[in-house]
């Protein structure tokens, strides 16, 4: 997985500079206006222009002046508890049973020989959980109110001093509570499943003649080799080699003068890396800023540098202090670069590159450090604090934090490709400094929080639709939102015209004519073409506006972070929480208006 640039934004950066707040307010205002106009038109059709207007304003007035101040937590609690009890009565616990059965047998089907077992296990549980919980939220929220209206139990509620706000909030909160309980249970089970699933142990199988290296037994479809060395204090220490993304510690004990080796738990499988991202600039073949090649359409912002030329990629990192990197004995750097080959080259050694650390003042830099690109994996490089380098062209020993970091805390890392005719591809998030790790459990919790927020959104939407639609129709409506939310980017690409082939009418014409999507539409009639394009523009503009208002469920899905071992940043969680709250408020308001203006006893 690659972290998208927008996922690196800080919370306030997003809220204020990236217009999260402005967009939210715009959507809210647009919806409010649209809602008012639609309600007025409906009311006008029914009651006439002046009384219709009076009715609409009265409902708004009542919300502000009576129903909001009169809303009581005790009633919300009572209604929420009722929703909870109702859900339990409708046997939602079956979902839990399905989940348990699922993970009981999942072990049979998850391939332990996979290169990234942890990723497989985590993706499985998180995907499974989110499908189950989202479906549960969908069914619970869409059918409850319509059922109550149908069975007329709603009449004993609304003849009490119950505000419409309370009915809506009670429903949303009650179902959310059910979902939360289930999700918490599933989360705990998932955590157990993942940690137990990847746990395995090796024994020492073969020992070399020197008695200091050897290989392990073949367990969980892999085996390691290992080597032990004596450290400064005379203790024997060692680790195995890395296989399938993990190592084991080798513990050496001496019994009767003979060394006995035992291997520890797998290390490095469940991580939550906290990346420090920098800003990327590239130089062109002449060494001037602003370079970077495109080798074909892959990603909007991934660019390539050519080997054995002056092209280089320069990352500038901010706020570099020893305290951010575990005291600063080393600077841990992680790379996931792409290699683009114009010839096969030496396939054994791979494409070579070099790393140089530079002080942005240009006076101090480190020696070149060679590396071989590791494709399709994360390469972890520990750069020691003291290294040889040069100051003003004079060779000397340099200290990363004292010499290479500038006074305002910046350091530059330059990457070049050494092999002529080969290219390195990279984007901003591909090279980062690893500022310690968060714990895996906490990260997984944040991942589940993402699922939780999606569930809350589904419940809000479901309750909202169920205030004016019948159960099945409300479900279809919520489903549509869910699908549009998940595949919103595709839909948005179609709507904004980023996808070639034109709008709905144009593409309808292209199909029978079998015109390629990249060719300009040519009907031999210019005015007709512009009419078609004009209508398409209108349709697509409307679609874009609609999509903007639908929550992007995909965005809330942070399971990939957990599976790929990236820490989910607090600002990302805060951002998602803010959006969830915004949609919750919005859905509650819309639900209120629908419920308030609905004749609940009508046949």
């Amino acid at each position: 997985m690659r972290i998208e640039p927008d996922q690196m934004w800080g919370y306030f950066e997003w809220l204020i500079f990236k217009l999260g707040l402005v967009q939210g307010v715009l959507v809210a205002v647009a919806l409010a206006l649209l809602g008012f106009v639609v309600c007025y038109l409906v009311s006008m059709a029914r009651y006439g222009p002046s009384e219709g207007f009076y009715n609409v304003t009265r409902v708004i007035y009542e919300l502000i002046a009576r129903d909001l101040p009169g809303t009581s937590w005790r009633r919300i609690y009572a209604l929420g508890r009722l929703a909870f009890q109702e859900a339990i009565r409708r046997r939602v616990l079956v979902v839990m049973a399905v989940f348990i059965v699922g993970i009981l047998f999942a072990g049979w089907f998850l391939d332990p020989s996979s290169d990234n077992v942890a990723r497989l296990y985590i993706s499985f549980v998180m995907t499974g959980t989110s499908y189950l919980v989202l479906l549960l939220g969908l069914f619970l929220s869409c059918f409850s109110l319509p059922n109550d209206v149908k069975s007329k139990t709603i009449q004993t509620i609304t003849t009490k001093p119950v505000r419409s706000t309370e009915i809506v909030l009670g429903r949303i909160l009650g179902f959310s509570a059910v979902g939360t309980v289930l999700l918490a249970g599933m989360g705990l089970l998932s955590y157990q499943f993942v940690t137990r699933g990847i746990r395995h142990q090796h024994e020492v199988k073969d020992l070399a003649d020197d008695g200091l290296s050897g290989s392990t037994t073949y367990d969980s479809k892999h085996q390691h080799t290992f080597e032990v060395l004596q450290d400064a204090n005379g203790n024997w220490v060692g680790t195995t080699d890395e296989q399938k993304g993990h190592r084991h510690e080798v513990l050496v004990t001496e019994v009767d003068g003979k060394k006995v080796f035992t291997l520890g738990e797998p290390e490095g499988l469940l991580s939550a890396r906290i990346p420090v991202f920098g800003k990327l600039q590239m130089t062109d073949r002449a060494g001037n800023l602003g370079g970077g090649l495109n080798v074909g359409y892959e990603s909007e912002y991934q660019k390539y540098i050519e080997g054995n030329s002056l092209m280089s990629a320069i990352w500038t990192f901010d706020d570099i202090r020893p305290s951010r990197f575990n005291g600063g004995d080393q600077l841990p750097l992680e790379l996931s670069l792409k290699a683009f080959r114009t010839f096969k080259g030496d396939i054994v050694t791979g494409v070579q590159g070099e790393i140089i650390l530079k002080n942005p003042n240009g006076r101090v830099e480190s020696e070149r450090r060679g590396f071989v690109v590791k494709e399709f994996a994360v390469d972890h490089i520990e750069i020691p604090r003291k290294l040889s380098g040069s100051r003003d062209g004079q060779p000397t020993e340099v200290d990363i934090f004292d010499d290479l970091v500038s006074e305002d805390g910046q350091i530059q890392i330059v990457i070049r490709c050494k092999d002529a005719g080969q290219y390195f591809g990279m984007a901003q998030p591909d090279v980062y400094l690893r500022a310690g790790d968060s714990t895996f459990g906490w990260n997984m919790f944040k991942g589940f929080l993402g699922i939780w927020m999606q569930m809350i959104l589904i419940i809000c939407l479901g309750v909202m639709f169920s205030t004016f639609l019948s159960g099945p129709v409300a479900m279809v409506a919520t489903m549509t939102c869910l699908l549009l939310g998940f595949f919103g980017n595709l839909a948005l690409d179609v709507a904004t015209g980023d996808n070639p082939g034109g709008g709905p009418i144009e593409s309808l014409i292209r199909m029978p004519l079998q015109t390629g999507a990249m060719v300009e539409l040519d009907l031999g009639n210019k005015p007709l073409e512009s009419v078609i394009k004009g209508i398409d523009q209108g349709i697509m503009y409307t679609l874009v506006s609609v999509f903007q208002a639908i929550p992007r469920f995909g965005q809330f899905n942070t399971a990939d972070f957990v599976a790929s071992g990236f820490n989910i940043s607090g600002s990302l969680v805060a951002r998602h929480l803010t959006m969830t709250i915004a949609y919750f408020v919005l859905a509650s308001l819309i639900s209120y208006f629908f419920l308030k203006t609905r004749e609940l006893a009508a046949a």
Binding site: Y54, T57, Y61, R66, R75, R81, Q155, T156, P161, E599
Partner: protein, 308 residues
């Protein structure tokens, strides 16, 4: 209708708050429409009634006469097509009026997965009552409606009569000043029915106002002070029960211990005075009376099998 919310707010408090009119409808009408807004049926046509404090007011009429529509309009469950309804001087759509109303729907639309205690506790919460008050009130009411033995049973196991009782209990949870009863005695056996009627009268005597609708004519006759008779959505008759039912040209005499000869003499006397003897006979008791005499103390719900 007035033209602004402010004026409306002022007006909603206007109609006779000081006097003792509890419910007032003005030109109240309801037309049911289909999805396209086409007129389906006029369920109620310009109804004007006033229910005064401390009386039992009956709405009488055959099926489809607009009784339930009236009751739903008064509670704000339906919105009027024309006219307005006021309860305690507030517009029928104002939920705060519900603080003082108890409502027993036609069938007790309660949550079947709750038991009696939970049901009352739930509705108590909806009145924002603190927990001690709720507990005290529900104990009292469960005892009053005679469901002590079944208080922990889920309502789905209740018989129809028991459901009516718990429905009544939930209507009384807030000690309402106005009780709206939709067919209060349907589904009840004669004892239950009599108890219900006794209770209605007792509540009236405590100063509460009761609006009930029924097509059980006997019930209405037994308890109501005033009735409105609706037919096809129109008000056909409105007045005190005793005066409505009084047959002005017939005289009724009740006497005891008369011999046949004396009865004959009375008949002769009536004829001699130019009157007409319609009937002169021993009275029969009503079936209800007879039934109640026989099963006096064998109350439902107190059968030995049904302890929980």
């Amino acid at each position: 209708m007035s033209a602004s919310p402010v004026a409306e707010a002022a007006q909603s408090a206007s109609p006779d708050t000081a006097s003792d009119i509890v419910i007032e409808t003005r030109n109240l009408g309801k037309i049911y429409r289909d999805f396209w807004g086409r007129k389906k049926v006029a369920a109620l046509k310009s109804l004007d009634i006033e229910v005064k404090k401390g009386e039992i007011f009956g709405l009488l009429g055959p099926n489809g006469s607009g009784k339930s529509t009236t009751i739903k309009l008064i509670q704000g469950l339906l919105f009027p097509t024309s006219g307005r309804a006021f309860v305690f001087g507030k517009d029928a759509r104002d939920v705060t009026k519900n603080e003082r109303i108890g409502y027993l729907p036609e069938e007790s639309y309660l949550y079947k997965f709750l038991n009696a205690e939970e049901t009352l506790d739930f509705y108590g919460r909806l009145f924002d009552m603190p927990s001690e008050v709720r507990r005290e009130r529900s104990d009292q009411l469960i005892k009053m409606v005679g469901l002590t033995h079944a208080r922990r049973r889920q309502l789905k196991e209740y018989s129809k009569g028991m459901t009516r009782r718990i429905g009544l209990a939930q209507a009384l949870i807030n000690e309402p000043d106005l009780l709206i009863l939709d067919e209060p005695t349907t589904g009840m056996d004669p004892i239950g029915s009599r108890e219900m009627k006794d209770l209605i009268v007792r509540l009236r005597d405590e100063g509460k106002t009761i609006l009930m609708c029924s097509h059980q004519l006997a019930d209405v006759q037994d308890v109501c002070d005033r009735v409105a008779i609706l037919h096809q959505g129109e008000l056909r008759e409105l007045g005190r029960v005793d005066s409505l039912l009084k047959v002005r040209d017939v005289t009724e005499v009740h006497a005891k211990g008369l011999s046949d000869a004396t009865k004959q003499k009375i008949a002769d006397l009536i004829r001699a005075e130019g009157g007409e003897v319609v009937s002169l006979d021993n009275p029969t008791t009503t079936m209800e009376e007879l039934f109640l005499d026989i099963v006096q103390d064998d109350r439902p719900g107190q059968r030995p099998t049904s302890n929980s």
